[in-house]
């Protein structure tokens, strides 16, 4: 029993007979996968290739070993003719050798080899076309969502209230702690940075405006949108994508139901409601973080912070910020759901679409935010 385990003794290759005509190689011992390294060393040290093989003393043989023996006799894959040049083998070994000679004699399929720069150019073109298609798809999907929402408003389709509330809890309520904590910290950092820069001019009090204006107009909504894109947008893609790969989406369609109505609208509506709420909480905690830094290190008491904010910060900044939230929510939810619906078949497709969903939504959120900034500037707001 132990002969099978542990280090294996390998086959021995020995020349039989002398002279140029009697080039017979005798193989003895086991010739299997496990002792191939030892055999290959001996094969490499052979000075000439054998005319015939003598397998009288061969103990065991498997398919890999048989292939190596055949390769000794023929270097060009014409193994079939080599069988006659094998002597003294046991019937079962001969049967295996014959089978291997038949099976391995097939020429390998050639891969199309194209020069690397052409591949690169082709890849570039493909990704540009892909980007264009993606934009078209997104536009078409916006239309589909709007059509569905319209028919819900007209009462022709149902709004799934239970699903909406469920997603409001998961995307909104459950995200409150992380968003508040993050914005609190960013608020503190912003206050600290601006105070160090402004202290030299004796204008540390301007920290109040910097923190409140930046959080009301930009950071509150932007930070929460980015967090929600990473947290909920990816979840939408993964959920819908795994449903897609288990053919649940096809089942929905086959049952004469609409996946947009069932899956997309509830998620979209939940995010449309919850992202403004989250943004508002984010603004509050950012300003709180700024106020805390002011009170502890800058000698701006909370009362002073509040009154300064009341005097210098306009209320409409809040509305300017919150106005962006539904737009971001629409982008995040529709990209998340669309990428989920685009999943095809396999499980790894879910992973790549989830990545693509997060990247796209964060990218678009920042681009749209920049557009809003330009718009507000032109409107002198």
């Amino acid at each position: 029993m132990s002969s099978k385990l542990g280090p294996m003794k390998s086959a021995r290759l020995e020349w039989r007979g002398d002279g140029p005509d009697a080039a017979v190689l005798s193989v003895s011992g086991p010739c299997t996968m496990r002792c191939l390294p030892g055999i290959l060393v001996q094969v490499d040290s052979l000075k000439r290739s054998p005319e015939r093989l003598d397998l009288t003393e061969l103990e065991s043989l498997d398919s890999a070993g048989a292939l190596v023996l055949l390769r000794l006799l023929a270097r060009d894959r014409h193994y079939r003719e080599t069988i006659e040049r094998i002597r003294g083998s046991r019937p079962e070994h001969l049967a295996l050798l014959t089978l291997i000679a038949e099976a391995a004699g097939v020429a390998p399929s050639t891969r199309n080899t194209i020069s690397s720069w052409r591949v690169w150019i082709a890849g570039l073109g493909e990704s540009i076309v892909g980007l264009w298609r993606q934009m078209l798809q997104l536009a078409a999907f916006f239309g589909e969502i709007n059509a569905c929402a319209l028919s819900i408003l007209m009462g022709r389709r149902k709004l799934r209230m239970t699903a909406v509330v469920h997603h409001m809890e998961r995307t909104g309520l459950d995200a409150v702690p992380i968003i508040c904590l993050l914005c609190f910290l960013v608020g503190a950092v912003v206050a600290f940075l601006s105070a160090t820069a402004l202290r030299d001019f004796g204008a540390s009090i301007l920290t109040v405006e910097i923190v409140s204006v930046s959080f009301l107009r930009e950071f509150g909504v932007l930070l929460s949108a980015i967090l929600v894109a990473g947290r909920s947008g990816s979840a939408f893609t993964a959920e819908i994508g795994s449903m897609r790969s288990r053919e649940e989406i096809d089942a929905i369609k086959a049952l004469a139901l609409d996946p947009v109505e069932l899956l997309v609208i509830p998620r979209l509506l939940a995010l449309l409601v919850m992202l403004p709420v989250l943004s508002f909480l984010a603004m509050l905690s950012g300003i709180l973080g700024g106020a805390l830094v002011g009170a502890t290190t800058l000698d701006i008491s909370p009362i002073m912070f509040l009154s300064r904010m009341q005097e210098e910060t306009e209320l409409y900044y809040l509305w300017l910020g919150l106005l962006k939230a539904p737009v971001f929510a629409f982008l995040i939810a529709s990209i998340g759901c669309l990428e989920g619906l685009k999943v095809s078949g396999s499980a790894e497709s879910v992973g790549s679409h989830t990545t693509s969903s997060v990247v796209q939504s964060i990218f678009l959120v920042i681009v749209v935010d920049a557009l809003f900034a330009v718009l507000y500037m032109k409107l002198d707001l």
Partner: protein, 265 residues
């Protein structure tokens, strides 16, 4: 001891498997002899796949002893376990090919990891396995998601055969295949077993493949192996589940097909 291990390549003694309160196997005994094709049949949820997973060590049994190639795997050292594991190949239900690698690379993975050889030789061995399992040569550079279910199963067998194992485990090799594909698969199992000197342990539902390619059948009902015998003798067994299974319309037609084939030959 040595004589039984030469005879029985797998020995399962007193196997107990539980999932929570649910007992799947209770004092299950089973022997697989060297060089045979043994099929395990049983109803859905009877624990056939769990038995296979226990033997190959993917499922830790609650009790019992499993000896493969004369070695108790639970008691063996890690090195010895690895040694035994190299001497079997497993095909999972849907092939379980690595989706990021093409078929050729999939077959080469066990070789690269366990038995590094010159690259061109590994390539040729892998292509040989592709030809042996009856896949067309151009499937070598296809990825698993470009293959049909039957081709994935064949590629799974090719990967299992990569290191020239002594035992081949097959989990439902013919499920999900069309009748022609399934018959081709039964034929493949017989050819491979004969030419590569394999012992095959397969889990199946398919009565046709039991009659065409199996030497012995183990019936797993009510947490035990109730009978192990040749397919013809199992068909005569008086256990009620076996009666229902083999005397039902599908069992009769499978036997009938076998009988007519015997006459033809």
């Amino acid at each position: 001891m040595a004589s039984t291990s030469a005879e029985n390549i797998i020995e399962v003694r007193g196997l107990v498997n539980r999932f929570g309160a649910q007992v799947v196997h209770e004092n299950l005994d089973l022997d697989v002899r060297r060089g045979e094709v043994l099929a395990v049949i049983g109803g859905s949820g009877a624990g056939k796949s769990v038995l296979l997973r226990s033997i190959i060590g993917l499922q830790e049994p609650a009790q019992g002893q499993i000896r493969v190639l004369g070695e108790d795997l639970r008691a063996a050292s890690a090195a010895r376990r690895a040694d035994i594991e190299r001497r079997w190949g497993v095909m999972f239900q849907d092939g379980a090919l690595f989706s990021s690698l093409d078929v050729l690379e999939n077959i080469k993975v066990p070789m690269i990891e366990h038995q590094p050889l010159p690259l061109d030789l590994m390539d040729e061995i892998a292509r040989l396995k592709i030809a042996l399992v009856g896949l067309p040569a151009d499937s070598a550079h296809k990825y698993p998601n470009q293959l049909s279910g039957g081709m994935r199963k064949r590629a799974g067998i090719a990967r299992a055969l990569s290191l020239d194992p002594e035992i081949l485990f097959l989990d439902e090799p013919t499920s999900g295949l069309d009748p022609i594909g399934a018959a081709g698969f039964d034929e493949l199992i017989v050819t491979l077993k004969k030419s590569l000197d394999l012992t095959v342990f397969l889990v199946t539902h398919d009565l046709d493949s039991i009659f065409t390619c199996c030497d012995r059948v183990a019936v797993l009902v009510d947490r035990h192996v109730v009978a192990v015998d040749t397919p013809e003798r199992i068909a005569e067994h008086e256990h009620p589940w076996i009666q229902q299974c083999f005397r039902g319309p599908r069992g009769r037609s499978a036997q009938g097909a076998l009988a007519s084939r015997m006459q033809g030959a």
